[in-house]
């Protein structure tokens, strides 16, 4: 018994000692020799209502890691709401890549702390990001996203449209092999597209609106490396139908493509990608190894498009569901990369010179009305709520700190060429509580019940729901606050009789392009859970115009016009954008940063040799 007590006291003493040593360790971080590099600093100065100013500053400065900071710039005329400066190691990576021979980059293994579990390795069956994160390294698309989310070549070598725009001829690269040694031909391409024809959103839209109804007429084989897509009416959307979208048309083996799309294919995924699937331990980890016979694209690397190189011998994803543990495992050196975690943990890593911190592409925080039921089947009520909303408060709660969000009235991602403030004046972040309250009273809706769903296990939506509860009450509604988990909410929202308002968030709208944004999200006519009715029909007009328009400048104008209508008809609540982070060992190279499509993919990454 005395021994037990001694043991206990010894443990307590060790714990106390650990605290002391910990504090000491925190102060004694090893010094890092700075490397002179160019920093690409993009300063975005936002004035959400009227005008958005962009500045690009190039500064030469020694830097070792990616940081994010807020800079206040005073301008005499315009009101500056918020600025987020993201300093990205773009030039560092480029400079070092140029200096190190290819042979010295090869080797090593990468352990990634994965945020979610993978249930299926079939990207044609699920839209789960966990599945896509892995299969992007194993399987390839015909066309992939460049760093700026334009379309670039991956398995496709070339494509050309006929003079009348009705026949599109695609040629795939020769000499490409699947991991089982089978050569890639149009057989596997057609089989994949056939499996995806009712699921891949843009591909489906192109066939439905412009293509021939029978699949075998719509997609035709010319030879082993050439196929055509045949239309009744011309459209510039054809290449987008073969690129990234909700269900990914990643080219699979014929055996997998024979499985109906509604069922997940079983067994190990086979593709033509730089990495070959190795092993999966359900609920724990999965791994892949370098594919020796990989035939890379001859095109220059640009995001997920062009040449992809597997420098690492082996990549292992370890499921670590707890975000604090993911960060701790990276700090302890047990993993080399940690996927998504929130702002408060990023603050902890900012001072750690052994770790580089990278921002992800922004997410958009949204709020959805039930367009079929009172009060929000009335556009005046919807507009009153939007105009009273405290966007900044909701974003701060969702993001965790002031450096991790930005007010953004634009339907398309802020900071890109698609950014727009059309229609936002007087609607976005207007905080007209008194006016809105008077409007609700005038409409005879004061005291009317609004059922607000709050998914407590999804932090961004949960945070925004707290603010919506206050704003709805402030303008005179009687709020019934329904607390539930995400799985319950996604079921409940399918029945318009059970709710009036809820929040979600979505990834960058640039990924899907304006057409994807209009056709498949919360804006589409009568197609999503909010049952948006598009009474004036302007949404449908814009979609049709966009689908036919191939000139980017004109597409931008159509999108701007649509956004003005979006605010006029108060389709949903655009709260703003918030950022998450991921992190990696400081000696990992090849990270472009800034939320590009290939940021967290293992291809093109390597470790600086000591």
């Amino acid at each position: 018994m005395k021994r037990s007590l001694s043991l206990k006291l010894a443990l307590l003493a060790v714990a106390a000692a650990a605290l002391g040593v910990t504090a000491a360790c925190g102060e004694a971080a090893p010094a890092v020799v700075p490397t002179p590099v160019v920093i690409d600093r993009t300063v975005i100065v936002e004035k959400p209502v009227e005008k958005i100013v962009k500045q690009t500053v190039i500064v030469e400065k020694p830097v070792e890691k990616i940081i994010q900071q807020t800079v206040v710039v005073e301008k005499p005329v315009e009101k500056i709401v918020q600025q987020t400066v993201v300093v990205i190691q773009t030039a560092t990576a480029t400079a070092v890549v140029a200096a190190v021979p290819e042979s010295q980059k090869a080797g090593g293994s990468l352990k990634i702390a994965a945020s979610g579990s993978v249930q299926s390795f079939d990207p044609n069956w699920t839209t789960a990001s966990g599945t896509h994160n892995v299969t992007y390294s194993i399987q390839e698309l015909l066309l992939a996203h460049t760093e700026q989310y334009a379309l670039g070549k991956q398995l496709a070598e070339s494509w050309i449209s006929s003079g009348d725009g009705k026949t599109w001829t695609f040629r795939i690269r020769s000499g490409v092999k699947f991991h089982d040694g089978t050569p890639l031909t149009t057989k596997q391409v057609i089989a994949t597209l056939n499996r995806q024809k009712d699921a891949a959103a843009v591909f489906k839209l192109v066939q439905a609106q412009f293509g021939t109804p029978v699949f075998t007429d719509y997609v035709k084989v010319v030879d082993d490396l050439t196929f055509t897509i045949n239309l009744k009416e011309p459209t510039g959307l054809v290449p987008f139908g073969l690129g990234p979208q909700n269900f990914q048309p990643l080219i699979q083996s014929e055996a997998w493509s024979a499985v109906p799309q509604k069922e997940t294919a079983k067994g190990d995924p086979i593709g033509t990608g730089p990495y070959k699937f190795e092993k999966w331990t359900p609920g724990d980890r999965w791994s892949m190894v370098r594919f020796a016979d990989y035939k890379a694209s001859p095109e220059k690397t640009d995001g997920a498009a062009g040449r992809q190189t597997a420098y690492l011998d082996r990549v292992e994803y370890i499921e670590i569901p707890d975000q604090t543990t993911r960060v701790a495992a990276l700090e302890a050196g047990e993993v080399d990369m940690a996927q998504e975690f929130p702002a408060d943990l990023a603050v902890r890593l900012e001072k750690n010179t052994k770790i580089q911190l990278v921002s992800m592409a922004p997410n958009r925080l949204l709020g959805h009305f039930n367009h079929l039921k009172p009060p929000f089947n009335n556009v005046e009520a919807r507009r009153a709520f939007i105009q009273a909303y405290d966007n900044e408060k909701a974003l701060l709660l969702a993001a965790g700190n002031k450096n991790s969000y930005r007010l953004c009235p634009s339907l398309m991602q802020c900071g890109t060429d698609w950014e727009s403030s059309a229609g936002a004046a007087g609607n976005y972040y207007a905080k007209k509580t008194a006016e809105s309250k008077a409007k609700i009273a005038a409409l005879g809706m004061a005291g009317m019940k609004v059922r607000l769903m709050d998914p407590t296990d999804r932090q961004p939506a949960h945070a925004a729901a707290q603010v919506s509860r206050e704003v709805l009450a402030d303008i005179g509604f009687n709020v019934e606050f329904l607390v539930m988990d995400w799985a319950t909410m996604v079921t409940r929202r399918a029945d318009p009789e059970l709710w009036e308002f809820f929040h979600t968030w979505s990834g960058s709208s640039v990924r899907t392009g304006p057409v994807g944004h209009l056709a498949f999200g919360e804006i589409q006519y009568n197609g999503w859970f909010n049952k948006y009715q598009d009474v004036p029909g302007k949404g449908r007009d814009s979609l049709t115009k966009l689908a036919k328009e191939t000139d980017v400048a004109k597409q931008k104008q159509i999108m701007d016009d649509f956004q003005a209508y979006f605010y006029e008809d108060a389709i949903f609540l655009q709260v703003g954008e918030f950022f998450s982070r991921w992190a990696a060992r400081a000696d990992m190279r090849g990270i472009v940063g800034g939320g590009g499509p290939a940021d967290q993919l293992p291809a093109n990454k390597w470790f600086q040799k000591k």
Binding site: M1, I318, D457, F520
Partner: protein, 323 residues
């Protein structure tokens, strides 16, 4: 004794059937729809209906219950809605981490809790007793996740003595392999075992102390002391055995609870066990996995209770009902 065991075994069967029906029915009426999770944000109501049809969720209650019951009788837990893999195949690799963690926690917390409880009872009213009971109260009130993160921060991130994650399985295929893999296994499990043992031992020590104090007031203990037996002999031989019944009950209850109750520990230390699997399945509404795990947990619970009852009969002859 044999008759007693046979009776208890037979009464367990209807309990398992009732638990099965309740489990199925509760999940049937619970909100949430796996079709909505599979379909994702961009699925239309028509697509969701199609997925429900594929999964058989559009069938009436009694049809679904009948199909499930029939599969259970044949020992078929079904396949996961999401991964389409057999649940027995998914559960099998998860058993070792949870069972190993549970056994280690029970051994460490029992030794620690019983020792500290007896020490406190021996020095009842003294400073040592009060200090131990303060520790017990603190242990009782400390949130497991908080202690886990504190230990990770100190012992794993800063001192690097133990891993944050990286469950190392133990190979039980042969004695040699077991001996080789055991050290790395114990090393990888040290922090999770420590966290749970500290918390569980606090409760066991309080129960041990009060049970011992009650027995120490009995006449036969006074008689034992009066006839000149040493205090250790009185404690271990005359007092501990009668006091063991509530202690065995508490330890048995803890063991049953550990079957699925290590959710937080498994999540924080990224241990691929059954508790984590259950929580993830609930979040996705993967009904076959939830049902399979609940049936496994309830059967384990019933079996452990049976074992505890048999242990009672061994410890206390008065409990041998028909023996």
């Amino acid at each position: 004794m044999r008759r007693y065991i046979a009776q208890r075994l037979l009464t367990s069967i209807p309990v398992i059937i009732i638990v099965g029906i309740i489990t199925f029915s509760l999940l049937y009426i619970a909100p949430g729809d796996p079709a909505a999770i599979i379909g994702g944000d961009e699925a239309t109501p028509e697509q969701l209906e199609e997925i429900r049809h594929q999964l058989g969720f559009d069938k009436p209650y009694h049809v679904q219950l009948g199909r499930w019951g029939s599969r259970m009788i044949h020992g078929d837990l079904g396949t996961s809605i999401f991964s389409k893999r057999e649940i027995t195949m998914l559960i099998r690799p998860r058993i070792q981490p949870t069972v190993s963690l549970g056994i280690q926690i029970i051994i460490v917390s029992s030794l620690l809790g019983v020792s500290l409880g007896m020490l406190a009872a021996w020095k009842a009213g003294a400073k040592l007793d009060r200090a131990l009971m303060v520790f017990a109260v603190i242990g009782f009130a400390t949130p497991g996740f908080w202690l886990a993160f504190l230990l990770i921060w100190g012992f794993a991130v800063n001192l690097n003595w133990f891993p944050v994650i990286g469950y190392a399985p133990v190979d039980i295929s042969s004695l040699g392999a077991f001996g080789r893999t055991l050290p790395s296994h114990l090393h990888s499990m040290f922090l999770p075992v420590l966290v749970n043992s500290v918390l569980a031992s606090a409760f066991i020590s309080r129960i041990t102390r009060s049970a011992m104090l009650e027995v120490l007031r009995e006449d036969y203990v006074r008689t034992a002391r009066a006839k000149g037996l040493s205090e250790i002999r009185v404690f271990l031989r005359h007092a501990f055995r009668p006091a063991a019944i509530p202690i065995v009950t508490v330890i048995g209850g803890s063991l049953a609870g550990l079957a699925t109750g290590l959710v937080v520990t498994e999540r924080i230390f990224a241990i691929p066990g059954l508790g984590r699997m259950l929580v993830e399945a609930i979040a996705r509404r993967d009904y076959p996995i939830i049902q399979g795990l609940l049936m496994l947990a309830s059967t384990t619970f019933i079996t452990i209770n049976l074992a505890v009852d048999i242990l009672y009969a061994y410890v206390d002859p008065r409990v041998r009902y028909g023996g």
